[in-house]
């Protein structure tokens, strides 16, 4: 046995020629060279965390060389090891830069955003420029002319999460953290609103039962003990959780206990492959046809308690009349649904019978089938059918968004930086960005968290339009993750947007289209604290891949100082003092200094006792009303009728054909339905700039994002596995690598979302996107009620030769 003394020395020796990080010829580029090796050095282990979870960073001579679990066998989520790849990515912004042909006192050349190169400037030059523009815009037009982009998926940390100003779910304002303080003191701002994540849950939930559509009403202990059937609806529960470790323990427990699991998805996803007893491939966007056919089986085979259904819902008789066809002459039989959904009528009947016979729990992900114009009907029908079948407020019955296991409450939260209330002068619904800039005014409706229907206009009379874009905490919302990307680029290249700046660690999409970019420190490049699962973790500084980078906090402080409200912005406290304040709000039983040395503290993970909410409603609905107009689960919405008229297809929770589907005119030319699920590795566009992810062949091959195609569709187009193809429609085109597999339904394509938009000719929004960003192909037109249009996109695919 070769014995090696067990020390922490790392013998780093130069061996031959060392590989450079990136072979690029430009003299100004972002090469981060590997340092030549030196003799034996000490290795330090420091705790840190990224949004994939906590880890130990191994640091040698100030450089983060690798990561390992906090302790052996402690792994919480899938992405923790990739954090180092983000920190040392070749896409880091190295120093403040300005577009070469942007002159704030001369020609701004906004049409060249995304095309022109950048030159290095000093921090003082950059901060002066940004502050001057903030001042000039406000003096000329008013504070509402500064547009702030709130990005909820910021990388983690309690001190350094910059928060934001948003009306994500009207009328509820979310104002938090440093950004709300900045814009409150600045005098206000315009903010982008609307989400891609769960628009239908946000709109449909309040209409259906007075709260978000995916509100968990049971805990996992109840599901494990009491559910007879778990339906994973348009979701891949095993891989899409934020806590992969605990989620898969839960799924395994269900399987080992023999709780039946059904997966409904056009793709034979990993949950279906590993855990489910049954996979039902339903043609996307037709789920509601199957759902009303299920109700048909329940009614005609007398499988539900009608008295219960009537006493717990509003609109039961209208719904029954619709389902049986007494209203429109079309009985919603399984045979009727089977043609639409492309599955056998008998499959629908079997699901209906099993659902009615057992306590049924539905994971109707905050994702999946909700992200389309008629997703609101799906959310409402899940709740309606659960109510009709007695699965609300009873053991084993319920819904949840995806996370089967929830964060324990034994740990007190560190809280967050106290926000200030910024005046929201205007909102712009994010998919309307182009029209807001180029063709105002724009008007849209939105269902609020209170179930009421709101109408908004941008800009409100007497208020200014936007002229300044402030991208921080992630540009995804406006630029990369916004359906209809090339259209929004067109707006950003307009002279109406006089100034755009981006503070980010990386050359993300918004950075490429800005006038000034400011390099920001990523996790591990500044101290912070965070809570994750049942752990409190001290996030050490573990490396300095970009010595010139500053924290968002430092940047906003410097701009605030130049604008005359620096002290109010910081509250007169240093970052270290703020860290101490945040820490003491928590319940870690030691001083901050001790916590820094210890690195982390593990709180007990409490055992759950089965808990079900809404039992009062279940047992006595008249005296335990829901927060809806009628107090019941509403299948019929009076609010929708009052707002849009009795003829609106959305008055009743029922099947409404997709706005882009087999009966659309464009189906003749674009006969493939494209789904764009969450990337298997990464969170939306995050992590996609790490080399290991670019080499992960389920998502990328030969540098291009994969498009999953059934062999029947591939053969019909002369496409073979690994061919480079063009996925296109009238809105644009993207380049992908064909991944031919039996796992996807014929007629359906699967392209992971989050691709970094990269037109082949940089800055030219007509040119094909080699980054494989699905938003290039998606119609940004929202529906009256739901603002997530993503899953109803028709395309065609063919070989691409360049």
């Amino acid at each position: 046995m070769i014995s090696l003394s067990i020390t922490r020395r790392t013998f780093v020796k130069a061996v031959g020629a060392l590989a450079a990080m990136l072979a690029v010829s430009s003299k100004t580029n972002l090469l981060i060279k590997r340092r030549p090796a030196v003799a034996q050095t000490e290795e330090t282990l420091l705790t840190c965390a990224a949004d994939g979870g906590p880890f130990l960073a191994h640091v040698v001579e100030g450089r983060w060389v690798k990561s390992s679990p906090l302790k052996p066998n402690l792994t919480v989520a899938a992405n923790a090891y990739i954090a180092r790849g983000r920190a040392y990515s070749s896409d880091r912004i190295r120093y403040p830069m300005k577009r070469v042909d942007f002159d704030p006192s001369g020609s701004r050349n906004t049409q060249n955003r995304g095309k022109s190169g950048f030159i290095r400037i000093t921090w003082d030059e950059a901060l002066d420029l940004v502050a001057n523009e903030f001042r000039r815009i406000k003096d000329t037009y008013g504070p509402g002319s500064a547009c702030h982009v709130y990005m909820p998926h910021q990388w983690i940390g309690t001190l350094h999460s910059i928060g934001g100003v948003s009306m994500f779910y009207p009328p509820y304002e979310s104002q938090s953290g440093w950004l709300s303080r900045f814009f409150a003191l600045y005098g206000g701002c315009t903010t982008l609103v609307g989400g891609n994540s769960f628009p239908a849950h946000q709109a449909g939930g309040p209409l259906a039962w007075g709260m978000q559509g995916h509100t968990n009403i049971n805990n996992f202990a109840d599901v494990l003990q009491n559910s007879g059937l778990v339906i994973h609806w348009a979701t891949d529960s095993a891989i899409k959780s934020y806590n992969t470790y605990r989620q898969n323990i839960a799924l395994r427990q269900l399987k080992e206990k023999g709780v039946r699991q059904v997966v409904i998805d056009a793709f034979f996803n990993d949950t279906a492959a590993i855990y489910a007893d049954k996979w039902i491939p339903v043609f996307p966007n037709t789920d509601e046809a199957m759902m009303v056919a299920i109700a048909y089986v329940w009614f005609t085979e007398s499988l539900i308690d009608e008295n219960f259904a009537r006493s717990h819902t509003f609109g039961y008789d209208d719904f029954k009349s619709y389902v049986l066809g007494t209203a429109d002459g079309i009985p919603k039989t399984p045979e009727w649904a089977s043609k639409i959904c492309r599955i056998d009528a008998e499959e629908i009947k079997c699901l209906a019978r099993e659902w009615a016979a057992k306590p049924t729990f539905i994971i109707d992900s905050a994702g999946g089938a909700n992200r389309r114009t008629n997703g609101i009907q799906w959310v409402r029908l899940v709740i309606a059918l659960q109510a009709i079948s007695g699965n609300i407020g009873r053991p084993g019955g319920g819904v949840c968004s995806i996370e089967l296991t929830t964060r324990p409450s034994t740990m007190k939260s560190f809280g967050s930086i106290p926000g200030m209330k910024a005046s929201i002068v205007n909102m712009i619904f994010h998919v309307y960005f182009r029209d807001a800039v180029l063709n105002p005014p724009v008007t849209w409706t939105s269902v609020g968290t209170d179930g009421k229907i709101y109408t908004y206009t941008y800009p409100k009379a007497g208020t200014p339009e936007i002229h300044l874009m402030a991208f921080s905490g992630g540009s995804g919302f406006t630029m990369n993750q916004n359906p209809g990307v090339p259209r929004h680029i067109e707006a950003l290249q307009s002279p109406k947007i006089e100034f755009a700046y981006c503070q980010s660690p990386w050359w993300e999409t918004a950075a490429k289209y800005s006038d000034v970019v400011l390099p920001v420190r990523y996790i591990g490049e500044r101290d912070d604290i965070v809570q994750y699962d049942n752990l409190a973790v001290y996030m050490h500084t573990v490396g300095e891949p970009v010595p010139d980078a500053r924290t968002d906090l430092d940047i906003y402080t410097a701009i605030a100082q130049r604008l005359g409200f620096g002290d109010q912005f910081t509250g007169g406290k240093t970052p270290a003092e703020w860290l101490s304040t945040l820490y003491s709000a928590g319940s870690v039983p030691m001083s901050l200094e001790e916590f820094k040395t210890a690195g982390y503290y593990e709180f007990p993970y409490p055992t759950q006792t089965p808990t079900v909410r809404l039992t009062g409603f279940h047992d006595d609905p008249d005296n335990n009303k829901l927060n809806t107009q009628s107090g019941k689960v509403e299948i019929y919405s009076t609010r929708v009728k009052d707002a849009f008229g009795a003829d609106s297809p959305y008055v009743l929770a029922k099947y409404v054909p997709p706005i882009e589907g087999t009966s659309s005119p464009q189906y003749q030319t674009y006969p493939m339905l494209m789904l764009s699920p969450h990337p298997k590795i990464g969170r939306h566009s995050q992590w996609q700039n790490v080399a290991w992810v670019r080499a992960y062949e389920q998502m990328f091959r030969d540098g291009y994002r994969t498009v999953y195609m059934n062999p029947i569709d591939a053969e019909a187009r002369g496409v073979k596995d690994r061919d480079i193809v063009r996925v296109f429609n009238a809105r644009g085109a993207i380049v992908c690598s064909a991944y031919v597999t039996e796992r996807i339904m014929p007629g359906v394509l699967y392209v992971w979302e989050g691709g970094w938009y990269q037109p082949e000719v940089p800055g030219d929004r007509q040119s094909i996107d080699i980054g494989g960003n699905t938003n290039v192909l998606i119609d940004p037109r929202p529906g009256e009620l739901t603002h997530g249009m993503i899953a109803n996109t028709l395309v065609e695919v063919e070989k691409w030769s360049g």
Partner: protein
Amino acid sequence: MARLGLLIEANRCIGCDVCVNACKDEYEGNDYPPYSVAQPDTQYGYAPSFYPEPASKLTAWVKRGHYWMKTENMVLGKFPHLSSTYIPMPCMHCDNAPCQKAASGGAVFTRADGIVIVDPVKSSGQSQLVASCPYGAIYWNDDKGIPQKCTLCAHLVDQGRAPKCVDACPVKAIAFGDLDDPSSEISTKIKALNAEPLHPEFGTKPKVYYAGLPKPFLSGKVVDGRTGEYLKDATVVLRAGDGRSWTTTSDEFADFEFKNLKVGQMYSLEVTKAGMRPKKVMVYLDQAKDIGKMQLFPEGA
């Protein structure tokens, strides 16, 4: 002396590639003499590089580097009757290692604990080692002119730790321990799960065992031949030529499935249900397949 090995439960692997990326994290840019030197970096980009200088037209490129741990997705069957399994594959650390035979000058040696090491100095220039491995576990490092592979994290094992992939896996599908100790967790599990090596026919005697490898299946559905109605609780019996038989019942969706079958043989399949005439067919199983709807008709019809 221990004989160290791994047990990989492929049927529980979610294909997240955390083991792959954790391995790259450990070995890209880090040397662990005398066991290994850094493997090449995985790289990607656009050519010519755009930022922060303008370019006229871009193409994407990627250099994948090494995969001392790799995963492959094996899909059996045809839509919609499928199985899908991810199979993580490190070096198998064979007892009868072909790479050791193919090496010269002691470039490959097996430690007393069973870990097979390719010496990063002595193996210089020995490109024949790459082809010598029937599992494709050995990679060539162009810059350094040496073959490289998984070391079972010998440097961590020396510190009393498990290999990195074991710790990294979020579903705990990889176990590590002493194969020679019958009471060790890994030995107990291998026995309980009937674990087996990949491709035992190579004769290399791997120390990496697998449970839940994808195997051919035969599936089908039971329906009423007159109405098309799905029939649950039908009894389905599969018989092989050697007299073995398996029995199951059609489930809530009238589906039935037999797993872990041998291909290249004839089977008989018989379906019975009270009140219906039995149905028997012969099936030649060439690969995992679905036999479709077995139609039953009522007695006397």
